[in-house]
Amino acid sequence: MAKVKHESDWYPLESGESVLDALLRQGVSIPNACRAGACQSCLMRAVAGTVPEAAQVGLKDTLRAQGYFLACACRPPEGTQLEVTGAEALRIPARIQALSSLSTSVLRVRLVTDSPLAYHAGQYISLVREDGLARSYSLASLPHEDALELHVRLQPGGAMSGWLAQDARPGDRLQVQGPAGSCFYVPGRPEQPLLLAGTGTGLAPLYGIVRDALAAGHSGPIWLFHGARTPEGLYLTSELRALAEQHPQFRYRPGVLEGGSRDVAEGALDVLIRAECPKPLGWRAWLCGDGPLVLSLRKKLFLAGLSLKDLHTDAFLPSVPTGQRSSDAGAR
């Protein structure tokens, strides 16, 4: 049997159980959301004992070296003894500066952190509310801007998005953990064609990445495909059209499944991409938003010739309700 010590108590793990599931099952409250190793909300630190390699996949080297790990991905072998603490030390207090709507279903949240957060546009952070509710959101802002900008889609019955839309007010305090993720622009090859594609609020990181690339003087073509079910799901359209007018190398392509018009293409995102970018050999791409869509696009672009090392993805995996074991969640 493996066991885990948290705040002076030892908790046994069932065979194959994750540290997150074991602690939640025994009444310990640990922030978590996706339970699939994707959102980093469940970050914890091992102060004694070793965690399996799989529990540190996707973490920065500096965090790994300090023993940080993802509790949902940590299934220690029989006989392991681990002593763990939360990731409170990594969280930065922040306050909500402004809340506004970008469309009927998307909220723009601006946050100011008490101390500066070093990040790249397009990475994501975990928002942790006072009661421990945690959800991840991508950064649409640029590091030199005075506030962090998030685009939050209103999820019916959503704990965090519902709270932000209805109850939260400017001045309210939250904590920010992160940043994480590899969806960001890397300078050095200004001529390389870039392909950015996303659905819904998958636009948030892409909006950051596009502006970052343009600010860095990227001169090669930059394609941005933003997909939604209907035109109401698109947002920031006039800002993006204005950006495209200022920068001829930037091509903005909104697309919808139904209700297309002269300015908005109609069709599945992968079809729209293939029509305009049939041979993306040697390109770099970022794909963000709805999980299954991101994964299927990645496969299609890989088959079309893009190299895996040039393909960056953030699948916005939803939260898995407490009570459901992560192993049953089917998220991977």
Partner: protein, 126 residues
């Protein structure tokens, strides 16, 4: 006395960097082949690519070591899902095409194919 160990195909191809390039070519062929792609679809493409790299390293005589028993155990779940000679032949075909596409000389390709063939019974659990 000069006893020079013969270089493995892996070394002759250029070692690890050559494998990293080969794995993309190979993985693309496998994923595009509907007869076998369902065995290789994985949420985590990087993880899957790493396994294909282990495969290529192994059949070119590089520094990974799997026993026949490992091969049996590793592919047993696939055998349960119906893995048979036709799938094996398809993978072998893509392996050959990958090496040829990368300009590997025919005698080396033949060597690799012999190593791959020697794993058939273990992979198919016979």
């Amino acid at each position: 006395m000069s006893v020079m160990a013969e270089k493995s195909v892996y070394e002759q191809l250029g070692g690890e960097p050559a494998m990293a390039a080969a794995v993309e070519v190979f993985y693309r062929k496998v994923l595009a082949d509907e007869h076998i792609s369902h065995f290789f679809e994985d949420v985590d493409m990087e993880r899957q690519a790493a396994k294909q790299k282990a495969f290529l390293t192994m059949v070119t005589g590089g520094p990974v070591h799997y026993s026949g028993k490992d091969m049996r155990a590793g592919h047993a779940p696939l055998v349960k899902r119906g893995l048979n000679d036709s799938h094996f032949d398809a993978v072998a075909g893509h392996l050959k095409a990958t090496l040829e596409e990368l300009g590997v000389a025919a005698p080396l390709v033949a060597k690799v194919m012999t190593i791959a063939e020697s794993a058939r019974a273990d992979v198919l659990g016979r």
